[in-house]
C-alpha cells in the first residue's frame, strides 16, 4: 500500500513500468492522484459529505501541549463529529499522535507533559470534570503495534469487562463473541479462544486489540496508525472494519496512508509542525485544499 502519491512529473513514464513489473490490478492508482481520488470516490464513503447537523462528539479548543520546553501542539482547535471517521494526517513528528493521545489523556503519565486549553466529551470537560480512567472507558484506543496481553484470546477480550465488574461467564461469553465479530476476527479465532494472544499473526493480533477495545463499549475509538504494522490484506480488513464501525462509534484515526484517509474518513485534519493547518471534509482537503501547505502535502510534494 503506497503511503503517498508520487509527484505528478513522474506520472507519465511510471505507469508503464509498474504495469510491466508487478501484477497490480490498478497500477495507475499508485501514482496518479486524479485516478486515486476517482477510485476512492467509487469505492468508499469519500464522497459522502460531512453531516454538519450532527453535534461534535468531542471538541478541542485552544489546545497547547508542551513536553518540557518543546511546544508540541500549538493552539489546536478541532471538532470531532459524532458517528463519523475523522482522519488526522501530516508528516512524522507533526503532533498528530500527540493530539490523539490528548483525547483520552494518555499523555497524563508523561511527567514533563503540560496541557492547556479545553477538551470536551459531549460538552463535559475531559481534563477537569472527568476521571481519567472513566474517560478512557468511553474513549478507547488502538495502538500502532498490536499489543495483546500475554494471555488467551478470550481473556484478552474479557479483560476490560472483567476489570469493570462483569463476572458472569455467560455475559462475558456474549461480550467476547460480539466484540470479536465486530472486529471481524471471530471466524478466524472462534476455535482458538484458548490460544495465547501473543502467538497470533500481526493482523489477527491487531484485530484482537480492536476487539479488546470494543469490549468495554467505548463511544469514541482512537486508532493510532493502527494499520502501519500490517500487511495489505490485514490493512484492508481493518479499513473495512472502520467503515462498518462508524455507525456505532465515533472514530478518530491517525494515518500516514493518504489512500486510507480517502477510503475511510469523512473528515480530515492536516497537521504540520504542531499546528492544525486545515480541517474539513476529506473530499475538500484532498481536492480543494484552502491552504497551500495542505495542497503540497496531499499531492506528495513533501512529507
Amino acid at each position: 500500500m503506497p503511503v503517498k502519491s508520487v509527484p505528478s512529473q513522474t506520472t507519465t513514464e511510471a505507469p508503464a513500468k509498474i504495469a510491466q513489473s508487478a501484477r497490480i490490478d490498478e497500477p495507475v492508482r499508485l501514482i496518479d492522484r486524479t485516478a486515486m481520488l476517482a477510485e476512492a470516490d467509487a469505492i468508499s464513503h469519500y464522497a459522502a459529505p460531512v453531516d454538519r447537523t450532527r453535534p461534535a462528539k468531542m471538541s478541542v479548543s485552544g489546545l497547547n501541549l508542551h513536553y518540557g520546553d518543546f511546544h508540541a501542539l500549538k493552539d489546536v482547535s478541532l471538532d470531532i463529529p459524532e458517528h463519523q471517521v475523522t482522519a488526522l494526517i501530516g508528516p512524522s513528528g507533526c503532533g498528530k499522535s500527540t493530539f490523539l493521545r490528548t483525547l483520552n489523556r494518555m499523555n497524563d503519565l508523561i511527567p514533563s507533559c503540560r496541557v492547556e486549553g479545553s477538551v470536551t466529551l459531549d460538552g463535559v470537560d475531559a481534563y477537569h470534570d472527568l476521571d481519567a480512567a472513566l474517560l478512557r472507558c468511553r474513549v478507547g484506543m488502538v495502538f500502532q503495534h498490536p499489543n495483546p496481553f500475554p494471555m488467551s484470546v478470550y481473556d484478552n477480550v474479557a479483560y476490560g469487562p472483567r476489570a469493570h465488574g462483569i463476572r458472569k461467564r455467560a455475559e462475558l461469553d456474549e461480550i467476547v463473541e460480539r466484540s470479536l465479530r465486530d472486529a471481524a476476527v471471530w471466524d478466524e479465532l472462534k476455535d482458538r479462544l484458548d490460544a495465547n494472544g501473543c502467538g497470533l499473526s500481526g493482523g489477527q493480533a491487531q484485530r484482537l486489540c480492536i476487539a479488546r477495545a470494543l469490549a468495554i463499549s467505548p463511544e469514541v475509538l482512537l486508532m493510532d496508525e493502527a494499520t502501519s504494522a500490517l500487511d495489505p490484506i490485514s490493512t484492508a480488513k481493518v479499513e473495512d472494519l472502520v467503515v462498518s464501525l462508524k455507525e456505532r462509534y465515533t472514530i478518530v484515526m491517525v494515518t500516514h496512508n493518504m489512500l486510507q484517509a480517502t477510503r475511510t474518513a469523512q473528515y480530515t485534519a492536516f497537521f504540520l509542525m504542531g499546528e492544525m493547518v486545515e480541517a474539513g471534509s476529506t473530499k475538500q482537503i484532498f481536492e480543494d485544499p484552502h491552504d497551500e501547505r495542505t495542497g503540497d502535502y496531499v499531492s506528495g510534494r513533501f512529507g
Binding site: L109, P111, A133, R136, M141, F143, F149, P150, N196, I216
Partner: protein, 352 residues
C-alpha cells in the same frame, strides 16, 4: 548464531575462491553484491576493488577464528574451575551428605557421629521468614520507584541508597543487627534478629531485581491497560506484575540462594547454638519448639564456620565437609529451580 553464520559465509567465500579458475571470476563470485551496487550507483562513483574485499573477508574470517578459540578456552577454564570446586566439595562430603542419620540427628558436642538436623531446618526456616518479610517490602519499594516516584533528588537519593546497601559487607549488616535487634531491642540471639538482618541484606538486591523486571515490561502493555480504563494501580497489579513475574521469581530464588548461604550476618544475630528441636512441640515459648522465632538458631553456613573455628568433635572435618556438600547442593538446586521456573513461566507468557 551470528558467529556460526559468519563462519559459514567465510567458508562459502573460500569455497568459491577455490572453485573459480581465474582470479577475476573468483572476485566476481565473491563480490557480486558490491559490483551490482556500484553499477547501480551514480556514474563516476569510486568503485571498490573486489580483490581487496575477498582478501579482507579472508583476513576477518581468520581473526574471527582466533578470537573464538581464545574465548572458548577462557570459557572452558572457568567451567572447569567451577566444576572442580563443586565436584571436590560434594565429593568430599558425599559420604555424610547422603546419610539420613547425619541429616536428621542433632550435632554432638564432644563425640563423633553428630548430625546437622536442626541446622538444616533452621536454614530453611530462616530463609522462609526472611523471604516472607523481604518480598512484600521489596515489591512495594520497587513498584513505587518504577511507577510512582517523581523524578527528583529524593528518588535519586533512594536509588543510590539501595545501590550502596546492596554492596554492604554482610559482616557489617550482622554487627548492625547485633546492636539493633540483639542488644537494643533485647531480642537476644534469635531467629527473628537473624531474619531481620538477612532482610536488610536481601532487600536491596530484591528491589533492584524487581525494578529491572518492571522496567523491562514493554511500554505498550502499560498503555493497553490504561486505554482500557484501568487505573494506574490496576494496570500495575494486573498487567505489569504478571508480565514481570518470570523475572521476579527468578530473582527471588537466586537471592534465596544467597541468603541461604549467608554466615557472617547471622553469627551475631541468630547465634551459634542450635538447641535440639522437638518437632512435636508447639509451645512457641519453648526453645526446643522449632517454630519459636525467639530461640537461637545456627544455620548450615554458620555451623561450618563454628565447627572449623572452635569444634572439638573428633570427626569435625567429615562433619564440616558433609555440611558444605549439603549447602552447595541446596544452592545448586535453588539455581536450577530458578532457571526452570523462569523459563517455564516466560514460555507460558510468550506462547512459544
Amino acid at each position: 548464531m551470528a558467529k556460526l553464520s559468519a563462519k559459514k559465509a567465510a567458508q562459502q567465500v573460500k569455497a568459491q575462491v577455490a572453485k573459480a579458475s581465474s582470479p577475476v571470476a573468483s572476485a566476481e563470485a565473491a563480490g557480486l553484491g558490491v559490483s551490482a551496487a556500484s553499477v547501480a550507483g551514480a556514474v563516476g562513483a569510486p568503485t571498490i576493488d573486489t580483490q581487496r574485499i575477498v582478501a579482507h573477508v579472508k583476513k576477518a574470517g581468520a581473526q574471527s577464528k582466533v578470537a573464538t578459540a581464545i574465548l572458548s578456552v577462557i570459557a572452558a577454564l572457568i567451567c572447569a574451575l567451577l566444576a572442580a570446586i563443586v565436584i571436590y566439595i560434594i565429593g568430599s562430603g558425599a559420604e555424610k551428605a547422603f546419610d539420613i542419620a547425619f541429616l536428621t540427628k542433632p550435632p554432638s558436642q564432644f563425640r563423633a557421629g553428630g548430625g546437622i538436623g536442626p541446622e538444616l531446618f533452621n536454614s530453611f526456616y530462616l530463609l522462609v521468614l526472611t523471604l516472607v518479610i523481604s518480598i512484600p517490602l521489596s515489591l512495594g519499594a520497587a513498584i513505587f520507584l518504577v511507577e510512582y516516584a517523581p523524578e527528583n533528588w529524593i528518588t535519586n537519593a533512594i536509588k543510590t541508597a539501595i545501590e550502596v546497601l546492596s554492596s554492604l559487607p554482610s559482616i557489617v549488616v550482622g554487627l548492625f543487627g547485633f546492636l539493633l535487634f540483639v542488644l537494643q531491642m533485647n531480642w537476644g540471639f534469635s531467629i527473628m534478629s537473624g531474619a531481620l538482618a538477612l532482610t536488610m541484606f536481601n532487600i536491596p538486591i530484591l528491589v533492584r531485581v524487581i525494578q529491572q523486571a518492571l522496567e523491562a515490561v514493554p511500554r505498550d502493555q502499560r498503555d493497553a491497560g490504561l486505554a482500557l480504563g484501568l487505573t494506574r494501580w490496576e494496570t500495575t497489579v494486573h498487567i505489569l506484575l504478571p508480565c514481570a513475574m518470570p523475572a521476579i521469581i527468578t530473582g527471588v530464588i537466586l537471592s534465596a540462594g544467597r541468603v541461604f548461604g549467608e554466615a557472617a550476618a547471622l553469627i551475631y544475630t541468630a547465634g551459634q547454638s542450635a538447641p535440639a528441636l522437638d518437632f512435636t512441640s508447639f509451645d512457641l515459648s519453648s526453645p526446643s519448639c522449632p517454630w519459636n522465632v525467639w530461640r537461637p538458631a545456627e544455620t548450615l553456613a554458620v555451623h561450618i564456620w563454628k565447627i572449623n573455628s572452635e569444634g572439638v568433635v573428633p570427626d569435625l572435618t567429615a562433619v564440616s565437609n558433609g555440611t558444605a556438600a549439603i549447602l552447595v547442593i541446596c544452592i545448586l538446586a535453588f539455581n536450577l529451580i530458578a532457571r526452570f521456573v523462569g523459563r517455564r513461566l516466560s514460555r507460558k507468557l510468550t506462547a512459544e
